[in-house]
Amino acid sequence: MSKKKITTSTGAVVKQKPLGMRIWNHRGYYIMFLPVLAFLAVVHYWPMLGIRYSFYQYYTVMAPKFVGLQNFRNMFATNQFWIAFGNTLLLSIMKLIITTITSVVVSIFLNEMGNLFAKKSLQTIIYLPHFMSWAVVAGIFTLFLSASNTGVLNGMLHDWGILDPKTSISFLEEPKYWRTIFYIINIWKETGWGTIIFLATLSGINPELYEAADIDGATRMQKIRFVTVPALANTIFTVLILNLAKVMNMFESVFVLYNASVYRVADVISTYIYRQSFGTAVADYGYSTAVGLFKSLVGAALVLICNWASKKGRGRGII
């Protein structure tokens, strides 16, 4: 068999060495890569063997029994599953859109601030909530929104005469308020962190563009509209499609804020899987795995769609 010919970076055409020889020549790098390969295999790929249990009836009290697609049939016939699936998409996408918009607005606002001390101070203040765990955030907002006499918001509504002192609103337990509150909490927690990438983009805008706009007599708002926002457009698109691939991975933020009263509007796929696994006396891991696998497949499809959208919009993919 003849050796394959390749063209080097200098344009020379040479015969490619056999694979074994190439590996031997670069053995140091391959040896260095071995731990990474082992880590990936053990931590990421070996657990994937558990996927097979989505085709089994797997109770913890007996040996797994192969049931084919029965778990998937059960899943598609379950109303609560579809509620959770719909909520996952709605909550994730709405959260993504809202936090992206607020991040852009806050970034532009910060970029326009002339006082450096005030700008840095404000940046620090709005970054801080990102570093709080969801459990702590839930604790703060549960107290703040409590319907009892100790609830801050209800107290304010009573004091301002907006709400009858004899009644209170259980904001986190009422379906009509829950989603709005969820979005607000996400804005509070994640907007600051989301501004980092936009501020980096803004700092890279050529000042000559603003100078040219000044010469043309543009107002501050016109400069934002015709210089700043167009400069951010590509970044906004990148952030959106990168995060769109992660919309199925929503658990902690919902888990710490939801309760039985709001399952209809708050239950997402991950919390549904959690309750199926730990809310029953005997967990049916086969069913939970089937739901988890479905979630992963939808997530993978979204990644591929985003990759396609990225290639179309930016000229390069995300994977």
């Binding site: 259980s170 309760n259 039985a260 005997v282």
Partner: protein, 546 residues
């Protein structure tokens, strides 16, 4: 060349560190120094003939084993090992996430040998008969049998299909409603005058509308608080018993033994109406619906330092908890006694729940004969000693001598650094007494795992002059004077794996009705749409098995 050598060394070190991650912790892999082998004695004609060399017992237990790393868990382990001669490994996950941790442990390959299992979980696992060791013969022939007291009847309820797979060292206990006596005094009321639901409700209304805490502000308090309008586990109604009365909003057997859905009965409808009225009148702290299953948050609000916005009543475990609640109120400078509400006329009794049970997990890698020998060996080492009426039972009941309790002649000083609370008590040699808490020296240590008031075997009399205060003993006596056993738990394959569907639907419906978001019929329609088919299947399975 140097770079290559360095890269090889680096890679080797990383591989070694990865491999090390997979090793067992030292306390699990190290063989115990004591080589105490326990032979399986012949307990019946079916007793195992094989012997099993038991060197270590790995247990998993929730927060009802009160000792922690800070308060003497290691010392407890060492004292147990010294008494029994076998290595004890305790896995004690966070109490509030115990069920999740247990489910994960049981799904893994490295299962604990002995597990404390919630009653609802036990009944399902036992019904499958494949995972838990059948301890019927071991229990019925145990050395402690002749010394058990009347509370041992609790284990009669643990038989499933005629076999016993788990044992509880204590009676189940249940909840009674505690009331802040100072609030009653401020309103000129007496707890003994509360005899009917109307009396009870009137008290709650006055706690809500008037000024029971005497802070000069009317209406800044509530009548009652609970961790949820309906509990997240059997017996479901225990945290608001006067409202639920004799309703049982779960699958239950009627007087003929037929399984029915108790959530769809007239009793439940009436209970929901009572709760709905109370919610509308504002006598239930609204945090009740936010604190579902969070008993810690609920009780901490009840006895918290800031009494604004707290409630006068709180239903919680009878017995020792009465003293604990009293101590916590005192610690928070809330000057009040805690009195216990008598049984009201509309209730048949206080619900005595199914107690959590200790079970032995089967080892499926062994032959049946070996597994039986292992089970018997563990039973002898762990269960027999837990109820030995002596040193090991004392460990489970009160903790470690010299650290948590003592028989020495000494003066015990409570709150030595707080002059207004400082209290000295002198004991003679041989006089049993508890010692101040390891982390909190303002109160005496109370118990470890077994509540002596509820124990199925009495300790020798000198130890019964115990940590159990008069109010705790009185509370338990009052409870058991009117206790009724909680209904049997359903055991069916569908219920075992789909009970969450029913429980979620019940929570949703109860919240919707009580908060006035839906009327009873609309809420019931949603309940049936969500869980109706599962309920029907489960009832079919249960009644077919009758």
């Amino acid at each position: 060349m140097k770079k290559k050598v360095l890269s090889v060394l680096l890679a080797t070190a990383m591989v070694a560190s990865l491999a090390a991650c997979g090793e067992k912790p030292a306390n699990q892999s190290t063989a115990p120094s004591s080589d105490a082998s326990t032979s399986a004695p012949e307990v019946s004609s079916e007793a195992p003939a094989a012997t099993y060399d038991l060197k270590q017992v790995k247990i998993m237990v929730d927060g009802t084993l009160n000792l922690t790393e800070e308060t003497g868990l290691k010392e407890f382990e060492e004292a147990w090992e010294k008494e029994v001669g076998i290595d004890l490994v305790i896995n004690k996950p966070d109490h509030s996430n115990y069920s999740e941790a247990l489910a994960l442990a049981l799904a893994g390959t490295d299962k604990p040998d002995v597990v404390l299992m919630p009653a609802a979980m036990y009944s399902q696992y036992a019904s499958f008969g494949t995972v838990l060791w059948d301890m019927t013969d071991a229990y019925e022939n145990a050395d402690f049998q002749s010394a058990l007291n009347s509370k041992a009847v609790v284990n009669d309820g643990n038989y499933v299909n005629g076999r016993l797979y788990g044992m509880s060292p204590t009676a189940g206990n249940g909840c009674v409603t505690y009331v802040k006596k100072a609030w009653l005094d401020n309103l000129g009321m007496k707890v003994e005058d509360i005899k009917t639901y109307d009396d009870f409700y009137n008290m709650l209304v006055r706690f809500t509308k008037e000024d029971p805490d005497g802070n000069g502000v009317d209406g800044d308090t509530y009548g009652i608080i609970a961790p949820g309008l309906v509990s997240t586990e059997a017996p479901w109604t225990n945290y608001l018993p006067e409202f639920w009365q004799n309703a049982y909003p779960a699958l239950v057997q009627d007087e003929n033994g037929t399984w029915i859905d108790g959530f769809q009965t007239e009793e439940t409808k009436a209970a929901l109406e009572r709760l709905r009225t109370a919610w509308a009148d504002g006598v239930i702290d609204p945090d009740t619906s936010a604190f579902v299953g969070e008993t810690k948050s609920t009780r901490e609000k009840w006895f918290g330092n800031d009494q604004k916005g707290t409630a006068g009543c709180f239903a919680y475990w009878a017995g020792t908890w009465r003293q604990t609640l009293t101590d916590n109120l005192s610690k928070n400078q809330v000057e009040t006694e805690v009195v216990q509400l008598p049984l009201i006329a509309e209730m048949d009794g206080f619900m005595d729940r199914k107690a959590p049970v200790w079970v032995i997990m089967n080892d499926t890698s062994l032959s049946e004969e070996e597994n039986n020998a292992r089970g018997q060996a563990i039973f002898d080492a762990f269960f027999e000693s837990m109820l030995d009426g002596g040193n090991v039972q004392l460990l489970w009941t009160y903790g470690v001598e010299g650290m948590h309790w003592s028989m020495a002649a000494e003066t015990v000083v409570l709150a030595p650094d707080i002059p207004e609370k400082r209290k000295e008590t002198t004991y003679e040699e041989g006089q049993f007494h508890m010692l101040p808490g390891v982390l909190d020296n303002t109160a005496l240590y109370k118990k470890n795992h077994i509540d002596n008031i509820l124990s199925v075997r009495d300790l020798p009399s000198e130890y019964n002059v115990s940590a159990s205060s008069d109010i705790a003993t009185e509370s338990s006596a009052e409870f058991y004077a009117h206790a009724i056993s909680a209904p049997a738990l359903p055991t069916s394959t569908t219920y075992a794996v789909q009970s969450a569907v029913i429980n979620d639907a019940v929570q949703v419906a109860v919240n919707a009705v009580v908060k006035g978001e839906k009327d009873y019929d609309a809420a019931m329609q949603e309940y049936l749409a969500t869980a109706g088919s599962v309920v029907e299947t489960v009832l079919g399975e249960l009644n077919a098995a009758q």
